[in-house]
Amino acid sequence: MPRIIKLTVNDEQFQVIVEPAESLLDVLRLKLNKTGTKKGCNEGDCGACTVIMNGRPVNACLVLAVEADNSNILTIEGLANNAKLHPLQQAFIKYGGLQCGFCTPGVIMAAKALLDSNPYPTEEQIRKAIAGNVCRCTGYVKIVQSIHEAAKVMRGEATNE
């Protein structure tokens, strides 16, 4: 039986008709056209679909849309503040924390969740926070560096200019 759910995505409110087995990822990508969130495996193994749901990072492919009823979702499209990119986005650009870009939205959302809860992460904590995100291009070196530099900017110790 299809159901109607309410979602707040990037501060916008939506009502969506969903099937019981439909994932939050498919709702975001197919029904709300938020294709910035990627489908890499659809099994919760690669982290490409990481979004922030009620303040916590989740694999959107493993969340049933009906479970997400009444929840607050942040996707990569909601990270920038109009013309101003988020410090994480700026740092990934400046330090080359991406190559093909397919895993990038998920990695950035996982990093955002980390920095929201821990503004002073060690390198080990950064690596652990993105341990669920598979990247086949970068070897993680510049991803870790980008997150580290973004944390400094968010703490007001540096700028990304």
Binding site: I93, C100, R136, C137
Partner: protein
């Protein structure tokens, strides 16, 4: 030489703003009006005849729009070697028999993916099971089942390379070492799976959006299989989520979506599942290596003999090139005066093997560099010293095969020697291993038999000074977009920001053979540089009217200022010259053209890059686990164009190669892949990665644009050998098969301890030398 104003600067990738904001569109993200979704039915048997296929139930399922089997195709076979029909052995949908678990048998288009998947279950295929063979060493026997009609002993291709007098040279050696090695398979594991959207119009023309490394190959091969004119097929390549060789040959996503759309006159999208990506695309070639190396007492190599059997899988794909290149790179990066290689690629009832980053060379270097260390130990020579003694130097000729021009290997070895000597005191169970490599900078392989130039570019200068750069080059994440724009800006003398890049559309961009064989920076870079130079020449004609230089003076452009080359302060604005030039050409836009095809550069590549890598490992003798402590790479790639991109390539190559060395494997049972998801197929993750150091060595390659050459693919070559040597140096055990798993380490430790207990006091196991 003058300073570069754009090259070598740490610039942000020109496409990174789109990628960090979720705006970048990949093929899988595209939705077209009235679009249908396709799925592919695949064989569950490794080898079977198709007796009958009943699609009636699937066709009757509501929402299903079309079901096709091999009967719905033209019955042609495809392959990249269009001149050699026997190597074109792959059908879109198999008509008479299946050759591996995953061979496509039927395809369905429906209103959504779930309906299409449901329809696959309703297709009834009657198979007559045939005996199957999975190991190439068994498949080559006379009594083995024949996988392709008329293919004796399942030998798909054989290659022979020889120079000097190998047998005579071995007689003269003071020490000869022989050993066997095995290299496992590896998945490309691109984050974006294979996918395509085909849209066939009522005008009889096809547009296809494809996640591909070569839009031109898609165009040419589709035209052949569908019996269409190339020009009636437009291939669009949106952002591509990784390739690594896996998106070079065409797969069922492109062919089946095109076939279905041709029937339905609606767009059809096919996206591989992760399981299909693992089990039914292509993969790195497993190889059985038998090596023999002979040297003089002082460590000079005199002869090498290499025999290789590779597991081909069910089809040729690009595998014949891997067979040649593994033989060619088995002599690298050394001057070996007498050399012989014999390689056989053998069909098996397994997923086809094909191109993957390094393309046969990582296997060659793992086996070769392991044996070099064994030789050094036997002769009592330092590991770096033996490499220095035999390593290639500038202007070396590989007899009958290749001409090396620039070569920074000696400097790389010197730099590494200093680094390793500083790290000689290590904790227990730690070891550092080194391995060196050389790699091509653009394969000279005209697989597709095209009359076009290998690379081409068009530069268009607009009235406001903005530059449109059109090229057929393909960025799959490796940074070609930025690198080529930098080359264009440098040659034209404008800012990087003045360039607008147009790629990935066969109807707008000139032909380029695609992203493979480390060819983009050198080949496409040359074409871009020539196109920019052509446009610049046209601008300077007009600048000459204004500046009226004495004929002996040259003009140039830098930082958007047109000036006397010898007196850079004297000149006029680039923008002014552009306006004058367009007015002077009766309002015509300024267009520059450039193309590049290597001529007289041997059989393999116009240039080669070199390097040496040292890896420190910490081996847990209780669990057999290898921890990567630190990696240092000394390498040279000519002039550095895009430093952030280059470092990223190096770091990423190490990640992929270390995974290949330690954990990534595609084990099968009766032809069925055991690990077909990211839970079972383990990759190194962020916490597993070691500290990375890069020692950049300066070289200049005269064949490359501004002296630049390959970076990124070659770096997948040294790692497995360096890790194997490091494990030996840590514990004294020699692992000769990849991946180096904890099980293999524990077994080798057990063997070693057993031998130690059995041996008499005076160690009789020492190999006598001389």
């Amino acid at each position: 030489m003058s300073e570069h104003s754009v090259l070598g600067k740490r610039v942000a990738g020109i496409d990174s703003h789109e990628k960090v904001s979720g705006v970048a569109q990949f093929t899988a993200d595209i939705v077209l009006p009235n679009m249908l979704y396709g799925k592919i039915l695949r064989s569950p048997h490794p080898h079977a005849e198709i007796v009958n296929i009943d699609t009636s139930k699937a066709e009757a399922l509501p929402g299903v729009k079309c079901v096709l089997t091999g009967k719905g195709t033209l019955g042609k076979k495809q392959g990249i070697w269009r001149r050699f029909p026997e190597l074109c052995d792959e059908e879109i949908l198999t008509r008479t028999k299946v050759r591996y678990i995953g061979d496509p048998v039927a395809t369905v288009a429906a209103v959504d993916e779930d309906t299409a998947a449901e329809a696959l279950k309703l297709i009834k295929v009657d198979y007559k099971i045939l005996p199957a063979v999975f190991d190439p060493r068994e498949a080559i026997r006379e009594d083995a089942p024949q996988i392709h009609e008329g293919c004796e002993m399942n030998i798909n291709v054989n290659r022979h390379i020889e120079w000097g007098d190998v047998d005579e040279a071995f007689q003269r050696c003071d020490h000869v070492l022989e050993n066997n090695f095995y290299c496992g398979s590896q998945a490309h594991a691109c984050m974006e799976t294979h996918c395509a959207i085909s849209s066939f119009g009522y005008d009889g023309k096809l547009t296809i959006w494809a996640s591909s490394q070569s839009p031109y190959y898609v165009q040419v091969l589709l035209a052949g299989m569908l019996d269409m004119r190339e020009g009636d097929i437009r291939v669009i390549k949106p952002y591509v989520g990784g390739g690594f060789g896996g998106k070079l040959s065409l797969d069922a996503a492109e062919f089946c979506s095109a076939l279905l759309s041709q029937r339905l006159y609606k767009p059809v999208k096919i996206v591989f599942t992760r399981e299909e990506e693992f089990s039914a695309s292509k993969r790195r070639t497993p190889m059985y290596y038998a090596l023999k190396l002979g040297a003089k007492k002082d460590g000079t190599f005199l002869a090498k003999e290499v025999r290789v059997i590779t597991e081909g899988g069910a089809y040729t794909s690009m595998g014949a090139t891997a067979l040649y290149l593994t033989g060619f790179f088995s002599s690298f990066p050394y001057k070996i005066p007498n050399y012989r290689y014999d390689g056989y690629r053998v069909y098996t009832n397994t997923e086809p093997t094909s191109a993957m980053r390094g393309f046969g060379a990582p296997q060659a270097v793992f086996a070769g560099e392991s044996l070099v260390d064994m030789m050094a130990k036997d002769l009592g020579i330092d590991a770096i010293e033996i490499r220095r003694k035999n390593g290639m130097t500038p202007n070396y000729t590989v007899p009958g095969q290749a001409q090396i021009q620039s070569c920074g290997l000696p400097e790389c070895l010197n730099a590494m020697d200093k680094f390793v000597k500083k790290h000689e005191k290590l904790p227990p169970n730690h070891g550092i291993g080194v391995a060196s490599y050389g790699f091509m900078s653009g394969g000279i392989f005209n697989w597709i038999d095209t009359p076009y130039a290998f690379s081409a570019a068009i530069v268009k200068i607009n009235v406001d000074g903005k530059v449109d750069l059109f090229t057929g080059a393909t960025d799959t994440g490796q940074g070609a977009n930025t690198t080529l724009s930098m080359i264009c800006a440098e040659e034209l003398g404008v800012h990087l920001d003045d360039i607008r890049l147009h790629i990935g559309d066969t109807s707008l961009c000139p032909v380029d053979l695609g992203n493979w064989g480390s060819r983009t920076t050198l080949m496409n870079g040359n074409a871009v540089k020539l196109a920019a130079a052509d446009a610049k020449r046209q601008l300077l004609e007009f600048a000459s009217y204004k500046l009226k230089p004495n004929i002996v003076y040259d003009l140039n452009i830098k930082n958007c200022f047109v000036h006397f080359t010898d007196r850079p302060e004297r000149g006029i604005s680039y923008y002014e010259v552009v306006r004058d030039a367009i007015r002077g050409k009766e309002g015509n836009t300024i267009i520059g053209r450039g193309h590049y095809t290597p001529h007289g550069k041997g059989m393999v590549s116009p240039a080669y890059s070199f390097g040496v890598q040292a890896v420190e490992v910490d081996v847990d003798t209780e669990t057999g686990q290898v921890r990567l402590v630190e990696v240092t790479t000394a390498h040279e790639s000519g002039t550095v164009v895009n430093p952030i991109g280059l470092e990223g390539q190096l770091e990423g190559a190490f990640h992929m190669a270390a995974g290949y060395a330690l954990m990534e494997d595609m084990q099968m049972k009766d032809g069925k892949l055991l690990a077909n998801n990211f839970r079972d197929y383990k990759l190194l993750l962020a916490p597993d990665m070691p500290k990375t150091n890069i020692l950049e060595i300066d070289t200049f390659e005269q064949e490359g644009p501004f002296g630049a050459k390959e970076a990124g693919e070659g770096l997948t070559n040294p790692t497995a050998g360096a890790i194997a040597n490091a494990v030996y140096n840590a514990l004294g055990i020699r692992i000769t098969s990849l991946p180096i798993t904890p099980e293999k380490i524990l077994r080798a430790l057990e063997e070693k301890n057993k031998k130690k207990n059995e041996l008499p006091a005076n160690d009789a196991a020492q190999v006598p030398v001389g």
